[in-house]
Symmetry: C2
Subunit: 357 residues, 2 copies
């Protein structure tokens, strides 16, 4: 149930860490990345719904048993990475805060709450200081888009942007990955394609709907891109219009972006800005057909930015293409980077451990 992992306790006071939603697509990446990045842990506990309780996950010869996520689990934890749905998060996060356990939340439950910082460490690290127990990570499409957009904003002052996304099925969850897999196998065998998660076949198709529709005809995902971009970039007047589309790709989202800026743009400055930005990798050699694809930017810490060009429909405009791992920078990695930032800044303190004192 609980596993001591002494080898990750180097150089800092180790933390008691929990993952809420550990069996989902993002939860599995949180688990993997916490271990691979040597996050300083004295203890790592995995939580999920009652349905998944008892499941055992092995890694590096150690066995981790999943237990049910309940309000009382947070008493012994310093930090909890939440990768559960909005309703579970809303139900459990207040108990964590009350117990003095920092909540790093991937869901949309608290992102737009004025008391909750919405943070991408490379962009608005300063926002962590005003947290009240919960810090949110952005929506995956927003995170990947801003990895290309933010350095350009710093250079030229962002005014407006249009985005069209090419989102992988892992953004929907592990069940959607299985659906694409099952449909592709059935197709290869010439059998009817099973369908459960998406309203339409996703193999050999694209679906221009991510999340449900709002009254303005935009989907939740599209509305989030506007609202979250405004909050993270601290540009309350920023205008954003996006079309979010699911494509038959397993992992990593890509986004085509057209952006207008306040100041005149030049390509050399734009390229230098992206190349110097810690969240992005400039991968842009059109003459050699080199540009990011989702396959190349799966399981990568940085997002790949390419196809950078002066926009032909804006005066002060730039267009680019960005691919990035929706489960990493778009979810698990960003939450862990927030925790790592808190540690570097001395803002994440292990709770007093009376039993050990």
């Amino acid at each position: 149930m609980t596993c001591l992992i002494e080898e990750f306790t180097v150089n800092t006071i180790p933390y008691r860490v929990g993952i809420v939603g550990a069996t989902g697509a993002v939860g599995q990446e949180l688990f993997r990345l916490l271990l691979e990045r040597n996050f300083p842990m004295v203890e790592l506990r995995l939580f999920a719904s009652a349905r998944s309780a008892g499941k055992v996950i092995e890694r590096g010869g150690k066995r981790f048993t999943v237990t049910e996520a309940k309000p009382e689990i947070f008493a012994d934890l310093d930090v909890a990475f939440f990768s559960a749905g909005g309703s579970v998060t809303r139900a459990l996060a207040p108990a964590a805060v009350k117990a003095g356990c920092l909540v790093l939340d991937k869901s949309s439950a608290f992102r737009m709450d004025p008391n909750v910082p919405l943070v991408i460490p490379e962009i608005n690290a300063h926002a962590i200081r005003r947290h009240q127990g919960i810090i949110a990570s952005p929506n995956c499409s927003t995170a990947v888009t801003l990895m290309g957009l933010y350095p350009l904003h710093r250079a030229f002052g962002l005014k407006r942007y249009f985005a069209a996304t090419y989102q992988s099925v892992s953004g929907t969850g592990a069940e959607a990955v299985r659906e694409l897999d099952a449909q592709s196998h059935a197709w290869a065998r010439g059998e009817p394609l099973p369908r459960k998660v998406y309203p339409y076949q996703i193999a050999f198709n694209v679906i221009p709907q991510v999340d449900t529709f709002g009254p303005d005809g935009y989907t939740g995902e599209e509305s989030k891109m506007m609202a979250e971009s405004r909050k993270i970039l601290e540009l309350p007047e920023l205008r954003v219009s996006s079309t979010c589309v699911r494509v038959p790709v397993v992992r990593a989202h890509s986004v085509a972006v057209n952006a207008e800026f306040d100041r005149p743009v030049d390509l050399a400055t734009a390229r230098a800005a992206i190349a110097a930005f810690p969240g992005a990798e400039l991968f842009d050699e059109p003459a050699q057909s080199r540009y990011p694809t989702p396959l190349d930017y799966s399981e990568k810490v940085k997002c790949g930015v390419g196809r950078l060009r002066r926009d032909t429909a804006f005066d002060n405009g730039l267009s680019f293409w960005v691919s990035g791992d929706n489960l990493w920078k778009g979810a698990a990695l960003n939450s862990i980077q927030i925790a790592e930032l808190m540690i570097r800044e001395g803002l994440l303190k292990p709770k007093a451990r009376l039993a050990e004192a």
Copy 2:
């Protein structure tokens, strides 16, 4: 070699018709659609490169033998549908014109020639009258995009548009369809994926390159969308910026469009304009998750327009999503519709047939 098809000669003087590039992806659709639409033909001849000469194509119990496309083939033809590459077209079309055979060309060879009308019958039918022997059909992405955009332009006056495409592999050609097929089968068998046509794996991936790159960082496909939109819509100042992307879909292209207009927009007028436009079908019920997908708009005469909404980043803006068959409206069907229009307008005359006189 030559096949008499008397059943298609109803109600009009039948024509002697040729297809140049008959064995390619578009050529096969030209062949199929000419027969299915009962195009008035006394004769249909199939031409291709020397390599494909001798190939026999059967349809409805008739055998059609492919012969080599040479300058002298046009002497006996009234109209030739070209679906060959640019260089073959440039080499052969002048011979056809000289022989009095109308050239309906799908390639990009003559599209921007000021003496060649570039025609989508539902949009600029009047342009056919000034032809000098060649009439061009637009690029597939442009054609599909304009099926949604033109009715809105008529209603509100188009000023600028941004587009991101989701283009199927059949736009590259029959060999690319085989590549996606082969990669998908290899993937299902757990084998290495073969790769020949595209620079990157296309199965379970997206590739943000269609055509080669120009000095401005836009690809040929993207530049065509601007140039051809301007010519067809007769808006020489129109500003267009697009990102063209290949997706693992067999057939039908989709496009996410953000458009700005001169006049204030309203959704009711926009919806009515699209619904009334003969080239489009309004398929837009977000509450029921009904919108076009490429699977649903394969082998459809009309393009499907959905996700219609007021754009949140433009004052007088509308966004929409359109899916349409790149081999039909984006190629073969549009050429045939031009020929049908010419016939209706009395502009396509069979050459005098001395041997029969």
